[in-house]
Each structure stands twice: as structure tokens, then as C-alpha cells.
């Protein structure tokens, strides 16, 4: 099998599972399809030799974040019956808007000048942990530290918001 064929199949699967996220009626199914989508995207990363990002993607997204989503879903005990319905008109309008967005993006990207592949470097090992780590702790060390502050803020914020004592909304 050529790489081209693998990439095409993977791309198709990614789009398909992403569509299913939107189309499934049951929220839990949506979550599971989203996990699948993330796995597909990770496979794409591996194809592009970005192993570190691929692994992190699975750990963080498919592992942590999606579990959080599932957790919340179960906690709230949402069922298919009380899944809110959307009117047909809005559905049409939304699909039209999404289609327009896609068309416009493609139209914009189509004219983008892409540097020919000839100038692309042969050695393709920048996605390895060592390289990324070096870059992260030298050039991007300040944003890296700042992002840790962001995490603390998010954690404190989440705890504060989820506290039961005070009613936030009347």
C-alpha cells in the first residue's frame, strides 16, 4: 500500500467519524465518535512523523478531556429523549452557513502560494520528543511557564464555579 492510499483512507475515516459526532442523536455516542475522530487525527500525526504530538493528542484529548466529557454526561444523566430538537429551518440555514464557510476557506487557500516541495528538507525528525523538548525549554520557555499559570487559573476557576454553596444563577 502506498502512503498516499493510507493517507486518503485515514482522511476519509476522520471526516466520517467527525460527521457522526454531529449527526448522532445520543450524546454518549457523539462522545465516542469524537474519541474515534481524535484517534484518526493522531494516526495522521504519526503519518506526518509527529510522534510526540500524536501521543499527547491521545493522552490529553482522547484520554483526559473526553473522559471529562463522558463524566459530565453521565453525571447529568442526559438521555436521548430529552435531547433538545432543532427546527428544520435552522438546520438548513446552519448547513448552508457551514458550506459557505468551507467554500470560502477553500477559495482563500486555493490561491495561497505554497513553497514547492523541493525546498522541503529531507531530514524529517523534528517531531521527535528530543527536538520538541529542546525548543520548548529554550525558545518557548516563557509561554510554557505562562501556560502553567493559565492551568492554575482554570483549575481554581473550575473549582469555584462548581462549588455548591452559592447559587450563581438565579
Amino acid at each position: 500500500m502506498s502512503l498516499e492510499l493510507i493517507a486518503t483512507i485515514l482522511g476519509g475515516l476522520t471526516v466520517g467519524s467527525a460527521l457522526m459526532v454531529v449527526l448522532s442523536k445520543h450524546p454518549v455516542r457523539s462522545v465516542l465518535y469524537l474519541v474515534l475522530t481524535f484517534f484518526m487525527i493522531s494516526s495522521n500525526y504519526i503519518l506526518m512523523n509527529a510522534q510526540f504530538i500524536a501521543v499527547v493528542n491521545i493522552i490529553v484529548y482522547a484520554g483526559a478531556i473526553m473522559v471529562l466529557f463522558l463524566f459530565v454526561l453521565m453525571l447529568l444523566n442526559l438521555k436521548q429523549e430529552n435531547e433538545p430538537r432543532t427546527s428544520f429551518l435552522i438546520k438548513i440555514a446552519s448547513v448552508l452557513a457551514g458550506g459557505a464557510l468551507f467554500t470560502v476557506f477553500i477559495a482563500a487557500l486555493k490561491d495561497g502560494v505554497v513553497i514547492a516541495a523541493s525546498s522541503v528538507v529531507e531530514a524529517n525528525d523534528q517531531g521527535l520528543v528530543q527536538n520538541l523538548g529542546q525548543l520548548l525549554f529554550t525558545k518557548y520557555v516563557l509561554p510554557f511557564e505562562v501556560s502553567s499559570v493559565l492551568f492554575i487559573a482554570a483549575m481554581v476557576g473550575a473549582v469555584m464555579l462548581a462549588k455548591r454553596e452559592k447559587q450563581m444563577i438565579d
Binding site: 446552519s94 452557513a97 470560502v104 477559495a107 482563500a108
Partner: protein, 636 residues
Amino acid sequence: MAIDKLILTILALPLIGALINGTMGKSLPKIVVGSIATGVMFVAFALAVLVFNSNHEATFIHLFKVIHLDDLELNARLQVDGLSTLMLLIVTGVGSLIHLFSMGYMKEDEGYYKFFTYLNLFIFAMLILILGSNYFMLFFGWEGVGICSYLLIGFHYSDKEKGMLNGIAARKAFIMNRIGDLGLLIALFLMLMQFGTLEYNEVGNAILAGDLPSGWMLFGITLCLFIGATGKSAQIPLFTWLPDAMAGPTPVSALIHAATMVTAGIFLVVRSNFLFEHAPQTQEIILYIGLATSLMAAFMAMRQNDIKKVLAYSTVSQLGFIFVSLGMGGYVAAMFHVTTHAFFKALLFLGSGSVIHAMHHEQDIRKMGGLKKYIPITHITFLIGTCAIAGLPFLSGFFSKDEILAHALHHNVVIYVIMAISALLTAIYMFRLYFVVFQGEFRGDDHTKHHLHESPLNMTLPLIILAVLSLIGGLLNVPSLFGGNHWLTHYLGHSTLGLNKVAEVHLGDSQTMMLMGVASVLALGALFFAFVKFVKNNSVPESDEQLTGWAKLSANKLYIDELYNALFVKPIEWISAALHRFVEMLFLNRLIDGFTMVIDLSGQLVRKWQTGIVSSYLFWMVTGIVGLMVYYIVKF
């Protein structure tokens, strides 16, 4: 200590006092508050004496740069020379005595700590005014004393009966001063335009080196400076605030509205003597305005029945007297009279404060009388002050007035005659005040009579010290006739820029003798006249309704307030009313209502878009993104 450290300490002391009392005074006991405020003043005075002893040349102390833009450079810089040292001694000396007096006088007052904070702050501002080495610093101090004066005049703003009136009096003083300040500010700008600097020394040296601006420029600068001076020093036409300023507590009247702040205008003119010397038209204006003020205020003082009002008009009159001297170029004579006036007018005001204290805040002299038995120390000191201001021979006022009169005689005999009349009036109304208050029978009610008491030591001590100064203050500049050597003239002329160049008038001995004779005769004649009228005939001032002719005119202050009311206040009110009716109601209101209506209507329209549903917002967001992208694709 070096001179600059001394001066900085003197400046810092009242500021520190004000800061301590202003921040913590509320929780401190009254005795501590008063002691801090008075203590810093006495220390400042002691240091001022040290400065006086050690300094003989003009010294400059550069503090910091305030504004530096292109060519414009304004510095916080101090200048210590003869003139500022003299003023420094007056301000800290008289100031500390008045602080001491206030400790007794304000004892019962609610805002004790506030009072001393303002008082210290005033001293600080006044020191900046006199010690600055440029007009910019002077202006800073000028505004500082203005605001303190405002705060202190309206000090009893919460008084149940008179609180409103006190507030109005304070406002009047503030607004009148503002008019003068505008003049001063314009003068400063003109000076910057002409000389490019506000330093006394640089302006003065340029002038003295013969680099004269055009006549009109010089006239404009000096006239605007003088307008500033009329505001602060209560001259025609801006004098009506000073009598009203008597609404403030009596020590304030003594310190600010008699001894120090109101002499700021005179200080300004003396400082700028080099400018005025080359602007004879302005000098003429000063001369005639001073003369008119002096005579008019003396006339008004004749029939006032409020003990403090008499003194207030007397102050205006004396200030006019000093301005006449300035108009004739008699700068040293003016400073001499400023000094002696500070002594005896502070004494008189504090004496009246003591009387008011004894009378339980009754200020109407018709309800007094015969007080000499009850408050002997106040009586004696008040008598000394009265004699000094009336110009009885060999008291301080005698010498200083005489010097001004000598200038007048040298200048023009008509002016001399008018000033002699003014001096005569001064003597008459002061003796009238003295006789009505202290001689004769007590005319108040029994309750007050029962409680008449001499003031405590911390109030009488300043009186005694000031009385001694009023007695011997004339020695500062004794004419050669009595073996004097014009010490003040030499002292001021030695280190103050411009004053050594100004020709002082020194008449011959025989002329001096003649002048002094006339002055003595006038003063004694006034004494005799007042004695006959108020003691022998035992006549008490009539109530306002019975007055006729000139007396009524005097009692009603020549209707100046009413005149100003009709000339300025009423037209402004009319114009405002017209603007309100036609411009505001018909035009502006509708315009603004229209605006709000348009916004309201468009809001009503657009708010339908704000459904509050997140999906719809998202939809519009996507539409917006698509729109933007399409725009850029089409454009490029």
C-alpha cells in the same frame, strides 16, 4: 547649620505639623494637637532668627525642576535675601504668637485639629510665597494661601445660625481673589513671553542692564501684577471680600487677613520694584487707587458697629496707605509699615478676639462698654495697639506712617493732605472703637456681665509680646533726627535686588520735625475729639435706622456691595436666566432629547436581534466570518 538646611527645615516644619494634625489630629487630645502646631511654629521662628543672623548676602537654594519644556524652564528654587528674611521673621514670629493665642481661643471648638492643620498649611504656603526665587513659586504660594484663607473663613460652615453666611463670605473671598489671580497669571504669561523666564533675578538683571521691553508691554505686565495685588491685598475694586472675611475665627483674621496674607500683594510689588520703576503710568494708578482705598475704607470704618469690621476696614485703609507709598517708589517705607502694621494689627485683632472671648462671642460694640475693669491686660494691650495705629508719637505706627507721609510730601502736597486726612480718620475711628468698648458703662445683659473674665495666659502672652513690639517696632527704621541710622533701609537695600537702586527720600531734619509735629497734632487731636464725643458725652453709636446723611453712607459701606451687585451680579443673573430660557430650554434641551430619542429608537429596533439564544449568536458569527473572508478574497 548651613543656610539652605535652615531654610528647608523652616519650610518643612509647618508642613509636618499640618500632616500630623491632618492625618492623626482627630484621635489626639487637643493639647497635643495645639502643642504640635504651635511648637513647630516657634521652632521655625527660632530658625528664622538664626537665618537672619547668619545671612547677609542673597542666597539661592535650588530644589528641583518642575517644568522643563523646550525653552521653558520652571524651577522650585528658593531665594533668601533681605526682603524674604524680613517677611520670614514676620510670618513665623507673628504666626507663632497667633498659634499660641489660638490654643486658648479655639479651645471649645469641634474642629480644633482641622483649624491647626489649616493654620500650619497656611504658614507653609505663605513661606513658599515669600521664599520662592521666581514668580512661579510665588504663584504656587499665592494660590496656597488663597485656599487656606477660603477654608478658614468658612471654618464654621456648619454653624446653625451663621453657617450659611460664613460659607458665602468664604466664597466671596475666593471668587474676588480669583479675579486678581487671573491678572497675576496673565502678568506671568506676559513676562514669560517677554523675558522667557520667571526668575526674579534674571528678569531684574535684564531690566537693570537696560534691556527694557516696549512701554506697552511693561505697562501691561505691571498693571496685571497690580491687579493680582489688588485681589490679595484688598484694594479698590476688589476689596469687599476682606470685611466679609471677618466671618472666620478671630485668630485667622489676625494672621491671614491682617498680618500676613494681605501683605502678599505689597510683597509682590516690592519684589518687582525694578519693573514698576520703569512703568510710571502703573505707579500713578497704584498711587491713586491706594489713596482712594485708604480714604474710602477709613470713611467706612467710622460707623461700623462690629468690632472686627472696624478693624477689617482699618486694615484695608492701611493697605491702601502702603500702596500709596509703593506708587511713589517708597518700597522700604512700605515694607516698614507692613512690619509695624503686622505687629499692631495682629495685636488689635487678637485683642478683639480676647474681648469676643470674654463677651461670649458677642461682636457688637454697642453691647460692650466699660470693659477695662474686667479684662485689664486686654485693655492695656489694646490701648497700646490703638495708639500705635493712630500714630501717637514714638510708637511704631508713628515712624512708619511718617516715612510714607514724607514720601507723599516729597511727591505732591495734595497727596500729602489727603493722606493726612486718612490718617486723621484712622485715629478717630480707632479711638472711637477703644472708648466705646473699654470706657463708659457696660451695656450688655447681666448674664454676660456676670461671666466677663480675663483670657488665660496663653492668650494674654501673645498680646503682651505684640504690645511690646508695637511700642518699639518703630526702632527698625528710626530717622536720623533721633539718632537712627535707617537700619531697615540698609538691610533691605543691601541684598534685595533693585531696592539699592531705588532712591529713598530722606528729608532734612527741620522738614522731618515739621511732619512729625503735624502727625502728632493730628493724632492727639483725634484722641481728644473721640474722647469728648464718646466719653464726655457718653454717646453710644446709634442703631442703623437713626443714622442720616454721611453717617448712614458710612455705616452702609458706601453701598459698594449693592453697587457691585447691580453692576456685575444682576446682569450675570439676567444673562443666565435668558440663556436658560432661550438657549437651554428651546435649543440645547431639545437637541439632547433628540439624541436620546434617536438612540432609544435605534436600540428598540436592534434589540430584536439580541435574542439571547447562543445558537443565533453563533450563526451570526459564522455569517460574519464568511462575509469578511469573501470581502478579502474579492479585494485581493
